[in-house]
């Protein structure tokens, strides 16, 4: 997968990755400030606003601990993002959030508070994600927001590719319902 924000070879961020891997906390802080918005948005969308701060901190602490394992085979942003996704998935599992994530309960369609589209569509969009059922939510975020493929999601979540497709469609239909006000 290709992520935006990847750093060209020899850039300052590459230098910061090397410095941080050597223990330079100031360099690591610069990496944090470069990537925190993307990571926090991921955690907020996949978990909740309430959990996002704590999990984002967990992710960066984990990143610091694992920097020595970063070999530069992919862009640092890609490596960091994948680590973040793994932390989020672990979090969901540890809290058993996924207990009903693959539920195909049709009543879930009624979970959304449907209203007319408003001018502040960005807020509506984020709110609509917040209201998706857990299973549909994580797959929608991973696929449509973050750009992962179904086969990648299937591996990460240990589900069948077909399940990933069904949950994605379910999520999109819910999002459509919310955003269009149908």
């Amino acid at each position: 997968m290709t992520l935006s924000g990847e750093t060209p070879a020899g850039s300052g961020l590459d230098s910061d990755v090397a410095l941080a891997a050597g223990g330079d906390q100031s360099a690591f802080e610069r990496l944090y400030r470069t990537h925190v918005a993307r990571i926090h948005s991921l955690t907020r969308r996949m978990l909740s606003t309430q959990e996002a701060d704590e999990v984002t901190q967990d992710i960066f602490v984990r990143t610091w601990q694992k920097l020595g394992q970063f070999r530069g085979e992919s862009a640092f942003s890609t490596w960091l993002h994948r680590l973040a996704v793994n932390v989020v998935i672990e979090r969901r599992r540890s809290f058993a959030i996924q207990r009903d994530r693959m539920s195909d309960d049709p009543a879930a369609l009624d979970l959304l508070t449907v209203g007319p589209a408003r001018a502040d569509l960005k807020v509506d969009f984020e709110q609509a994600i917040d209201q998706l059922p857990p299973g549909a939510r994580e797959i929608f975020v991973l696929h449509d927001v973050e750009g992962y493929k179904h086969r990648e999601i299937a591996v990460m979540l240990q589900i069948a590719t077909g399940t990933s497709k069904r949950q994605l469609h379910r999520a999109r239909m819910l999002m459509r319902k919310h955003l269009s006000g149908d």
Binding site: G22, S26, H40, T56, F60, Q65, F140, R172, M173, L179
Partner: protein, 247 residues
Amino acid sequence: MHQEWTDQLSDYLDGELSADERDAVEAHLRTCAPCAAVLDDLKRVVARAATAAARPPDADLWAGIAARIETGGAASPGRVMPFGRREARRFTFTLPQLAAAAALLIAVSGGLAWNAAERIGAADPSVSVAQPPQTPQTADADAASPAAATGAAEFARVENVGMADAQYDAAVADLEKALKDGRGRLDASTIAIVEHNLQIIDQAINQARDALAGDPANSYLSSHLVEARRRKLDLLRRATALATETN
């Protein structure tokens, strides 16, 4: 709207259908306006998701991350260890090692002071402007030494540097007393190095505190103050251990 067809629209959009399935969907869409409208809506949802902006957290999370890194989240083996784990260790500094560590501490402290000074707009020309380098490596601990353990016992309770001021000051006072008691067992050049670096670190601490007084909510300054305090404790602890060991 026909669910048997709309159920295929996401796969259609994502190019997941076979050629035959795709042709069938397209044939239906040409004759079914409601299903075509659903497809348009889904395209808008997908486009919106693909352009969803990243938004930073409302609060700066760095201070919490820095604190956790300091108390055990080492980037490289041995870089940062909880103070409590060191109490049974025997430090084997030589003067050149201590001097090398001191040189790094000077640079680090200079960097801290520069950061603080820059924040308050009062740069001190006596403070070197340097990027904080890597933390000096912890001295190898070959074997437990009763003498070192005795000296370390006094500050084993120093578990982190996020402690309250009173607790921190008490820990520093204990260490300074232990160092003063063991001062006679260190040579003059070692004492000079230690005292010089303590002076620089104190300067960094004071500047960070002054800056924080004007901007108490600044987590960036807070993290640097915590770092400077940690380094002072670390230097005192190492010097005290050295004095104890040479007993």
